[in-house]
Each structure stands twice: as structure tokens, then as C-alpha cells.
Amino acid sequence: MEFIKTPKVENVRLLDRFNVRKPIVGTLYLTATHLIFVDPAGKRETWILHMHIASIEKQPLSTTGSPLVIRCKTFLCVTFIIPRERDCHDIYTSLLKLAHPTDIEELYAFHYTSPDDMPKHQGWNFFSLESEYLRMGVPNAHWALTQMNKDYEICDTYPKYLYVPSGVSTPVLIASARFRSRGRLPVLCYLHNTNQAAICRCSQPLAGFKARCEEDEKMLHAILKANPKSEFMYVVDTRPKINAMANRAAGKGYESEVFYSDIKFQFCGIENIHVMRSSLQKLVEVSELKNPSMSAFLTGLETSGWQKHIRAIMETAVFIANAVEDGISVLVHCSDGWDRTAQTCSLASIFLDPYYRTLHGFQALIEKEWLSFGHKFTDRCRFLESIEAKEESPVFTQFIECVWQLMQQFPCAFQFNERFLLTIHDHVYSCQFGTFIGNCEKDRLDLRLSERTYSLWGHMLNHTSEYINPMFKKDYELTNPVLRPNCNPQVFRFWKSMYNRFDNGVHPRENIGDILSAMTDHSTSLEDHVILLEKRVKSLLKLLGKSEDTLKSKLQGLVSSESLYMLCELTKGLSPLSGDGGHAAANSAQTASPQNSKTVNNTSIDGSAVGGDNSVRDNEVRRSDSESGFEDGGSQMSKSGMELEGIEEVDSLQDSPVISQSNSLDNLMLEQLELEMESVAVDWKTLRNIKQCSCAAPFEHYTKKHHCWKCGNVFCQRCIGRHIPLPGHYAQRPVPVCKSCYKEVKHSPSVNSFQSIQTLSPNTPTAPV
């Protein structure tokens, strides 16, 4: 890269806020995409993506070197002390260039390649606006799709497909668009599935002090009429009244109840992007205070106004959702209708519709309300150097925080967890994926992002299990279809996992979410393992010559209680006897076969019948398993989520070993059984007091800790090498294992290789091992 003058600086000291006295000494590397600090002693690596850098500050030279303070959009703040002023300056100037590319084509997404062989198209086709509206039952008698904006001629920041009241003529639509700021005419964004109340969005009208537009009035009337049972509708202006008034002087403003009959007008008092930007600035200052007193922290929190703004957004969304629930349609706008409107419409949709509280639904919501309707991500997140500082604003961050606040009030209502929100937040800024590049749908099409870059949704699909909320209750949408959040100031919490994410000290030392997620994964592994064990026990019993009936009763006993264990104890006691008497028939049959083959004849005699029976029993076992109260939303979800992509592949994987296993049950070998037992960890290492991975990389509060499903130890993302099916699992689904276990499983003789040996050399005697 032409910008990098000094790719590597030694003896750099890293100061973090809580460790001012004991700085870490290491090497700073500057690459084309990251600034990396490596601490050789602690094995700690700090990776800073250039795109995440919000500001770089060169502080006055000190005795130890030149301090460079880097603040990130992910709320990481670090200070590097670089021994030589020259190096510091080089890094500084390079970073200034690298952090703010001048051309959109220089963004990370355009040269990023996915390390995990993800196809580039994955994720780009997950969502379409049309299918999302179909889900809401649109088009229908009252709402129609218009092709008017097919070429983005009416409104270039809107999506191609617009949904409007069905009777409205094209001239009315065009006139209405002309009467609205930037042509953003009123269109449907959410339709309540039972009461026909709608949320529509638009920008402010160009009303000035007395201008009116009859077509626009007709348009609003048509929206009201699309909800036949309702007498009036709300027009929610999310701005404080004073701001809206000021806009009137500029020929914009708000709807007059005089001209628009049947509307009730409501101001909501959410401040503009500039206020929000400086509020976040103050919040960051508070979170960066060194050893603050309680009083300084609370006063800082208060003066930042951040929680006040979050609350205003929530209250507005509650107002919209309540109206819709009462069967009243709402038209929402702010100034341009792409910031506050996006926040409040999407939040209200989450309150109203459980679908948006699922992984997939939340992504669909972002696709619709934020991406399609033209939230200016490139401008608000300031991806490019050319964007003015006054365009930047944490509008999306606020939305994400509102969802987090909701999760605090309704911990069982969301399928996804905090990590999901943080991942989306970080990747909005990272520009690693094309998803959020550009300011509107047209931009993304023009840039051909779906061909040239990866989709964040595709990437996240490969990590679905990390984003599942283990407390999610599947039936929550039935018991609580609508969320009614409490919006009193006492309820709002400071989101330390966002704004103090990198300060390990301030977080709960035991993370309930992580512990439960690990438990859920562990249960999934054990469930699968138990099915296999049950089959093995069954075939061993059969091998020992138990009759079909006793087998059945024993198996039933096994599923319900410990009775089988008792039986086993009994048989164990009786084994010398049964060896002589009980198995006489089998033994005599065997003596006839050469080479002392241990194939049991009594099973092969009724082989086909047993085979048929087996499959029936399998189903029984499985069914009884799922009926015994073990059903769990989380694990089911994670399975279905993970298998979305490769259902067929997994199925075929599942089938072959199952068939071969069930047919060759009688050919069991000790080695194989032992292998199966060894390959699944019954106990997983607890996450408590685990400070580092076996590779010595320290675990931070926010890093996901992975369990190896084979050995049960805890590893970092990098050490949890690949997914592979384990011999001890019945379903043969590829599961995460650590590097050494991966090698072990890969090179161990599998069930099938046993068979192939058997098949190839049917008559060769083999020595016992």
C-alpha cells in the first residue's frame, strides 16, 4: 500500500485506562487493513481495523515517546507510545489516509476475501422486499405494488418497489412525491396482520407557511381509507415542534390539520442528528473517565443526555405501536424520513411483530427499514474522507441500543443475543461486507455490491449458533405477541457491553448468556450421543441373545428410568450362567462357522425382520426422547439455523452412516465402540476462571469461548479449527472440534473404514489387538 511508510515499529507501549502504571511493551504492525499490536509476553494481540478508527490524536512528545491515541467506532480507545517521533508521525499520517478512504471503491469490502470458503453470493439473496411484504399479506385489496419507481426516477433514495393504497392514481403519487422533501412520498412499511392498521413513512411536506398539495392530501386520505374500520389516522412528526416550525421557514414543515382532514397530528421530540452526535461524544467521554467517582459518572451520564434520547425514541415507537394495535394507521416522518423515521418505524415493528424478534426477521427488518428505505449508512457512519463531519451521527447505534434495552426488559422474547447486536453494529462500521455500503438501494445496485462483495448476512449464517439467545421462549410470541416496554427513566440501563466493551474489569465475571449457550450446545451433543449409545446398548443386548420382547421392555425401561441399568447389573451377575446355558444355541451355531467368527447367527437369521423393527424402534426412541420434556427452543433453532444452507448435504451425510450402522450393528467391534465413546465429551470444561485459550491467547470479556465437542476443552475462535462429524454422534452432523481433535478424528479408522476392511478381506484371519 502506498500509504504505509512504516510497516513495523518495535518497543511500542500500549496503555489502557486501567493499566497506566504497567504498560505492555510490544510491536506495532501496520498492514493494509489493520493496525496490529502484538505483545509477545502476554500473547495478546490487539487488532484494529482501519475502518473502525474514528479518530487519531497525536499527543505532545513525552519522555518515553510519542503518544498516539486511537478511538474506534466500536468504542475501543487505546494509547500507543511510540519511541521515535518520526515513526509515530508516519503511522499517524498513514492511518489518517487508511481510516478514511477517499474513494468508495477503496473500502475494505472490495478487497476482502472470506477465509472460510464462503461463496460470495451467500446472503445477498436471503431477503427480498417483495417476499417481506407478501409475509405481511401485501398486495391485497387495499394495498398495491407500484412499479412507478422501477428506475428510481420518482425517488432515488427509495426502493424500486413501493407499496401504496390500491386506488391511488399515478399522477397523485407523482404529485405527492413532489410535495415531499427529496420525493420521499408516503408509502407502506408495515401492515398489521389482523386489524389492517398500517405504518407508513415519508419525509416532511414542502408546506412552508401556507402551501398545500391536494394530491398529497388525497394520498393521506387513501392511506386512511386503506384501513376501513378506522375514522382517523395519526401523522407522527418525530421531531420536536420547534424544529418542525423552523423548517417551515425553509419551505418545509409539517401537515396542517386544516388541510388534511381526518388526521391527528403528533410531535414526538426526538432531537436531530447533530444533537445525537454530540450526545454520544459526551457519553464516550464519560465511559472513558479514569477511575470515576459514582457522582462524576452519574452526572456525566445525565449531562450527555444519551439516555434521554434513547427514551424519546422508545416512547415514540411505543406511541406508534399502540396506535397500530388500536387499529389506527400511522404515517411517520421526520425531516428527510431516513433517520428518526427509520428508528421509530423499525422499533414499533419489533414491538408489534414477533417475527422481527427472530434472527432472520431482525435482518429482514434492517433490510427493509434501513437499507431499502435509504438510511444513509455511508454518510452517517462516515466511511469516506469526503463526507462532512456534520453528516455523521449514531442513528443506527441508537436503534441497536433501543433493541438491547428491550432485551433487558424482555429476556425471553428475542431469538438473538447481545453478541448478535454487537456483531451487526461493528460490521456496519467495518465495511468488511458490502451490506451497508452506499446510502440507498440504488447506490448498492450501481456499485454492483452483490457481485463484488460479501454479504454480512451470509457471514453471520455461518456463525448462527453464537447468536442464539438460550433464554428465548418459542411460545413467547403466543403469550406476549406485543411487547409493551416500560419507558420510565428508571428502567433504562447503561449499556456497558457496548460503550465499555473493552474494559474487561467492569463486566460481570460470569456471563450467564455464554454459560447457557455452552450448556445448550453441550446438550445438543449429548442428545445425539445418547441416541447412538442407546442403539449400541440395544445391539449389544441382542448380541448377548436377549429375546425381542425382553429387549423391548428393557429399552422402554431405559428411556424412562434406571431399570435397564438394574437389568444389566442382573445380567452381569448371571453372565457366567447365561454364557453356559442361555447362549447355548448361539454358541453351538457358532462352532459350526470357521475361524471362530463372532458373528451372531441368531440375529442374522431374522436379520431382515430385525432391520425393519430397528427403524421403527429408532423412531420410537427419538420420539419418546423429544416428548420427554427435552424440547428446547434454543437448540432446535440453532440446528435449523445452521442447517439452512446445507440441508441436503447434511441429510446425505446423515443417511449413509446410519444405514451402514444399523445394518452392521451385529458387526460391532470393541475398537469402534471405544472410538465412539472417546469421541464425545460427556463433561465440558466450565467457563469459570478460564483466562486464556490453550494457545495462550487471553480471553477478553467479549470474546466468544468455544468448546471442542470432542474433548470438552475451551478454545478461542482460531483454535477451534473446523467442523467434522464425530463417530459418537448418531446424526453425523459436522460439529466444532479443536485442531488436535480434528486431526485425531480425521485420521482415526472410522466406522466405515472398519467395514471396508471387512468387505475387502472376508476370509483373512486377523490377530486380536
Binding site: 454459560i515 449429548l526 471362530n596 468387505t759
Partner: protein
Amino acid sequence: MEFAEFIKVPKLDGVVLRLPFKEPVEGTLCITGHHLFLSSRKTMKEELWLEHSAVDAVEKKLSNQNGGTLTLKCKNFMIVELDVPTAEDCLQIAHSVESLSNIHNLSLKYPFFYRANFEMLEDGWTAFMPESEFNKVGSSDQWRISYVNNHFEVCPSYSYAVIVPKSIDDETIAKAASFRHHNRFPVLSYYHKENGRAIIRSSQPLVGPNMRRCKEDEQLLNATLNRGKGYIVDTRIQSSAKMAQAKGGGFEPEQHYHQWKRIHQPVERQKYFHEALIKFVEACMDFGSSTEKWLSRLESSGWLNNIKEVLTCACVVAQCVDKDDATVLVHGSEGMDTTLQVTALAQLILDHDCRTIRGFEALIEREWLQSGHPFADRCAKSAFAMTKQRNESPVFLLFLDCVWQIWQQFPCSFEFNEDFLLMLFEQAYSSQFGTFLCNNDCERKKYKLASKTVSLWSYVNRPEVLEKYINHLYQPNQSPIWPSVAPQSLEVWQGLYLRWKIDRSGHQDAWKEIFKVREKNKELKLKANRLRRQMVLLQKEAIEAELLQPCAPNIMEVEDEDTGLSAGDS
């Protein structure tokens, strides 16, 4: 009964009850000596069952047409509203409840009338005797149990038995006691098995302006050191310790206690806690306020700051013991409020035993009840009452809040859940049990509480009750747990202060889900282990019966060659 004179209206129809989160109910109000209850004709069940002692303040609002409204503000911060048909009745009821909730005659209190309606498995009064607690310290040759206070003559606010250094005889102790405020001489609070260090607590020494010294006190303290170093953690700022000296109290001067290093780790004086709580609860209750107003009132109440200070001090003490390998003496002035908060919390940090249900009960017995925290004085009133006396102080509540702060930072290290802490809070302020009555063991003995009332622990320590208080995420954690005291880490305990203002059902659901996840995991682990054991047994049997061979045998019939081959390729 003496109560009769207070009960002007024992029964009244047509009273409308308004409770948090519930629809208003009309019913019949009844007032008895200890309770107020309302039963609805419609549902035929009691909608309200309130002990008079749970009421902190009574407010009445009369209106000309519709009688009046009675607001009962409870000590657990619940607000009960009653619409009474006539103004006269309203006044009468208000008067009755006010009188009955302020009965000072101990023997008239409800615990003396309450009879256990459950089967007692163990008597809570004898469950945590000093002797059995001393046994837990282990057969240390450094400490002994002393009965110098057997008749509460040496120190009235201590228990009849205390733990003191083995090398110090009772006579020396009695002399040393006279040198300490309220005679609260240095006793063992916690013995750290890992390194043999200890936490000692006492009240301030009566050094006074004339710099008195007491050889016995020095001797007693030095005997606790066992050739190690010692810290004195004074919970007051140095200036107020100096002021106390002018009034006859003071702190240990270095020249006489040269083996000790003194640290002032200030905690707000207990008498200001009450004011902080009143302001804090007022802010919590005011739901109409703006965000700025809420945050500024939260800040100015100082409640969270008190928590930060107490926790910080406890961490310092625990660190001195665990990290610095030192013995620590903790005291403030009287040594029965902040001192106990600090020593109890330090133990919670250091000793995993205190984080079990039984261990926590023992901790409350040891550090609060037996060491003479004046519950009767401190918990007489809560945040709503207007009192002129200055004895009330939410010292114990602040302690529970600190426990909760640690609990939410280490949600898997405690055997009990949030409900257990809530229960203890409510019980300390109003109870049918005798446990939190009186100010110290001396008084408890005088009023024969052990024979005349039921102990809270008798009630709690039964499986059907304990079940409610189990934390389903508990995994015993042997190591010390160091909480964060950063302002970002300390939060408003919504489950307690906002319990009657915001719906917590979402959180209850969450804990149910947590329970399910854990149960499923546990069951599957059991099942897998059981099956594995069976496998081993069956394998053994099969090998013995020569039906299974640990090597690849010859197969006469391969049932499906294709599958075997194709799968084998992979």
C-alpha cells in the same frame, strides 16, 4: 386483648383495593390485632394480607363525595391504596393502622402470637450456635472460644460466646473491653484457612484527648497477629476519627500499636444512610419524572455511592487478608454498623461457604445477629416514615444491596437467588418470626425469644421452602470473587426498589428457561453416563461370552457392500 382499643372499625364493606399490577378489587376490609386483610366477595379469596408492622407510613386523602383514600406505604416499598366509602371510616382505619403498626411493646408483636403451621425439621434458634461456628474455624491452635461474656456483663451487645486468641485469658479480655466503645473488644470475625490470617472487628478505642492507652488491648491485638503483619482498617476518614478522639473515642496511635499499619478507608456514617435511602426511593418512585431529573436525583441521593464505598472497603480488607497475607482489624466508631457490613462482605468475597444458603444464614447470624447489630432500632422504619429519632438506618439493606451487586457480577457463584435476598430484606423489617427482633442476644435472651417465637431459619430450612431460593446456575466456586466497584458495574437493584413499579415477569420467565436448560443438560449427562456404564458392562459380558472380539472379525455376510465402500471412501 389490648389491641381492641385501637381497632375502631374491625370490618368494613365496599372498600376498593388498588395494588401494583392488579386491577382494583372491591371487598370487605378486616382489621385484627396484627393484620389487615381484604377479601373479595367475587373471588372469595383474600386479595390482601398485610401485617401491620409491614406498614411504614399511612397517608389519607379525604374527598367530600366519595369518602377517602388511604395510602399504605410499606417498608418493602409497596404502595397499597384503599378507597373507603366514608370519610369517618377512612380516618378511623388510618388511625388504627397507624397505631397498630407502631406498637413498641415487644411482647405485643406478632412473632409472640405466631405459631408455626409447618413441620419443623430443625430449630433455627440453635442451628448456628457460636460453638458450632467455631468448629468450622477448625482446630486452630491460635484461637479459642471464650465465655467471658456468658452473662452479657462484659459487653452487652456481644453474644454469650466469642472467639479470641488462645493466648489471652478472660481477665485480660475484660480489661481490654473497657478500653473500647460500648466494650466491643476485638474478636475474631473470620479465619482465612488458606493462610491462617484473620479478620478481627471491634469498636473504636477510647483513646480520647489524653491519649489513653491500654496494655491489655494492645496485648490482645498483638496476639491475633501470629508473627504476621497487621492492618487496621478504620471505616472513617481520618478527620472524623480525630474528631471522635476529642470526644473520648479515637483510633490506635502508631506508637502503641507499632505492629499495625492503619488505613482509613472511609464509608459514609450510618446515620446518613437513612437520608440517602429516603431520597433514593423517592426518586425510584417518581415515574413521571424526566431522565435528567431521575439521574440527578439518583446521583444526589448518594445511595449508589454508599454501595461503592462499602464494597471498596470490603475489597480492601479482603485483599489485605488474601493477597497481602495480613491480619486485619476493622472498626468504625461503634463497630456495629459499617464495620459489620465490611467484615461480612469481605467474608463473602473470600469464603465460598458464605455463598451457600446455609453459609449465608450462618453469616447473618454470626456477623449481624450475634455481633449485635441493633435490628430493632435500625429497621423500625423504612424509607417513607417521618421519624424524629435518629436510630433508623438501612445498614442491613445496604449490605444486602452490596451482596446483590456481587451476585449479579458472579451469578453462578451463589447458591441462592435474588428472591432469597428479597426475603431477608422483608423479614428484617417485618416478620412473623423472632429472628430479627431486639437489638442483641442479651435482649433476645431476656425476652425468651427462643422459646416464645419461631426462628426464621426453622421456616426457611425446609426443602419445600429452600427450593424457591435455589439459584439454578450455581456451581460451587472455591476461589475468592473480586467484584468490580467501577460505577459502570454498580446498578440500581431493580428487583428490589422497582419491584412494585415495573413488571418483572419477563425475568421470572428467563429464570424458568435457565432452569430448563440446566435440567436438560443435567439429565442428558446422567443419561449418557448411565448408558456408557451399561456399554462397558455389556461389552465385558460379550467378550466373556466370546461374542465380541476386540479386533476385526471375519464377516460371513456383508449386508450392504455398496454403503460400506462408498462411505469408507470419505
